[in-house]
Amino acid sequence: MVIKGKVWKFGNDISTDHIAPGRYFHLRSNLPELAKHVLEDADPEFASKVNEGDIIVAGRNFGLGSSREHAPRIIKIAGVSCIIANSFARIFYRNSFNIGLPLLTTDTDKIEEGDELEIDLERGEIRDITKGFTLNSLPIPPFMMRLIQDGGIEEHVKKYGDFKVD
């Protein structure tokens, strides 16, 4: 699976409160509307700037805090194809793969906003076309890769009638 897109860069400790603020709690049953506020408390302009296929690149502990699955869902609805970060918070990590949004873990320091990336998910290879370097991500665990290939946990359960972890 190859993903190509332009980078939006964020720092460390971007919480699910930054991604889906509590003051929009009432929009949680209307995800396309909530997605108009995605990442608003980290970058108020992000929702209006992001394009289909773009890639979020961040520092440490992306997605910490609340378990709200709305956070990765509205990132996906906004068109983001993949998130790369130095590390991810656990619940966000799990939620993202469950909904079919791939995450890659690597040292992101050299990647800058606006760079064009080409990502080979299976090989965990991230090519920065703008700068001309290649990074290797930590391998995606086989079960998580299966979730992405199946199109998320719901499609996975429909396909196998259960969770197929081995």
Binding site: D17, H18, R23, R28, D41, S66, S67, E69
Partner: protein, 429 residues
């Protein structure tokens, strides 16, 4: 419920508490790092995460629950509802409850995590909740962890989840907490020490004489905040106080000894002497941004909030009331007090605590999450500062990204309300 398999109590095993509990729910021995499918004892959603769970189940044509008594829908984050969209979410949860028999915890009954320890959590249970602070129940010797709406929706329907068995960090806590220093200060100290991502994916086991001497209310504060270090869960071995608590809640027969094997494999072991700790405050905008009270200059406060799943229990209200008795909150500082559950509220009324808060000028609200989540009640104005007993201080958390959230113990909150600025509670003890 589950049969005890021969290896579970075997002295030659080397299992952590998480490995033992998950193993019982998989039906075989498991090891940290494995991905497994485990049976679930309790699954819950709240009004912020539940509507999405139900939408997913409807889409999958799987609107059913594995065990109605142990499938719970809590109306607590936006309760009573402040607007029609949220009223419709509540309506959706009530209709799902009628259709499937899932238990509905109504508006005013209290915060999900407090209600879970009061009436559902048991030693050895595997619990999942669509709320990150589900780890609170770990103080009763359960493996309890937060997940997303879809994970918990599938747990509702199938009665199981997929899990990675976590590695464990053990925290051995020694010494007695000094006067004016509480379990809130202790867990903030630990989070500062290891960082907001210091225990990501790990289970945190807390043990030692300090923990053994803490009340159950104080223990819940510690496991509640395990997620603030990134952990999958926080767990405390069971003991006589766990048993007494379960007896007090009318289910003493559910007591079981839960502890790790003496030669369990831990990824890291921390030994902390708590006898030298002092009251601490977490500064905006990350929980691990912790400072000692002695290092803090005068910081004026517009609001103080005592409540939440972290520190809205009876013991917390008692500590705060002892400081506020016969005093008033500063005219420049609003004081909000919310008992974590209706049971806590009733006991606080009986003990005269609510009257003390009212005389101190507090606004008392009905049990629920209150201002912690930024949905309604006590939303900060631009540039305003709050000291709250809650667990999170991310930017925008309390409804306004231009607000500043400081976290501390109920004693510090009470002392700070009186002075209108962040104040060392030891002054009032």
């Amino acid at each position: 419920m589950l049969n005890i398999l021969p290896w579970m109590n075997g002295s030659r095993m080397n299992k952590t508490i998480s490995e033992k509990i998950i193993g019982e729910h998989v039906g075989r021995e498991v090891e940290a790092g494995e991905i497994v499918v485990a049976d679930v004892d309790v699954a819950m959603v709240q009004d912020g995460t539940g509507p999405l769970s139900i939408q997913r189940l409807q889409k999958l044509n799987m609107e059913r629950v594995f065990d109605p008594e142990n499938t719970i829908l809590f109306l607590d984050h936006a309760a009573p509802s402040p607007r029609k969209e949220l009223s419709n979410s509540h309506k959706m949860l009530r209709e799902f409850s009628k259709k499937t028999g899932a238990y509905l915890s109504e508006v005013g009954e209290g915060v999900c995590h407090q209600r879970l320890v009061e009436d559902w959590a048991n030693p050895g249970y595997l619990m999942v909740g669509a709320d990150s602070h589900t780890c609170t129940s770990g103080a009763l010797g359960a493996f309890a962890t937060g997940m997303g709406s879809t994970d918990v929706a599938l747990a509702f329907a199938l009665g199981k989840v997929w899990l990675k068995v976590p590695e464990t960090f053990k925290f051995i806590l020694k010494g007695e907490l000094p006067e004016g220093v509480y379990s809130k200060d202790l867990i903030l100290h630990i989070i500062q020490k290891i960082g907001a991502d210091g225990a990501t994916y790990k289970a945190m086991e807390f043990e030692g004489e300090t923990i053994e001497n803490l009340s159950m209310d104080s223990r819940f504060t510690i496991t509640n905040m395990a997620i603030e270090a990134g952990a999958k869960t926080g767990i405390i071995p069971t003991d006589k106080d766990t048993k007494k608590y379960l007896e007090m809640r009318g289910r003493g027969e559910r007591y079981r000894e839960i502890k790790a094997d003496s030669d369990a494999d831990y990824e890291r072991v921390f030994e902390i002497d708590v006898s030298e700790l002092e009251p601490v405050i977490s500064f905006p905008h990350t929980v691990d941004n912790v400072k000692k009270i002695s290092e803090v200059d005068s910081i004026p406060l517009d609001q103080v909030y005592i409540g939440t799943c972290t520190n809205g229990r009876l013991e917390d209200l008692k500590v705060a009331a002892a400081i506020l008795e016969g005093r008033r909150s500063n005219p420049e500082t609003r004081l909000i007090v919310i008992p974590a559950s209706m049971d806590v509220y009733k006991k606080a009324l009986k003990e005269g605590l609510i009257e003390i808060f009212i005389e101190a000028g507090a606004a008392i609200q009905s049990p629920g999450c209150g201002p912690c989540v930024g949905v309604h009640m006590g939303v900060l104005g631009d540039g305003e500062r709050v000291l709250s007993t809650q667990n999170r201080n991310f930017r925008g958390r309390m409804g306004n990204p231009e607000g500043f959230i400081y976290l501390g113990s109920p004693a510090m909150a009470a002392a700070s309300a009186i002075e209108g600025k962040i104040t060392d509670p030891r002054k009032y003890l």
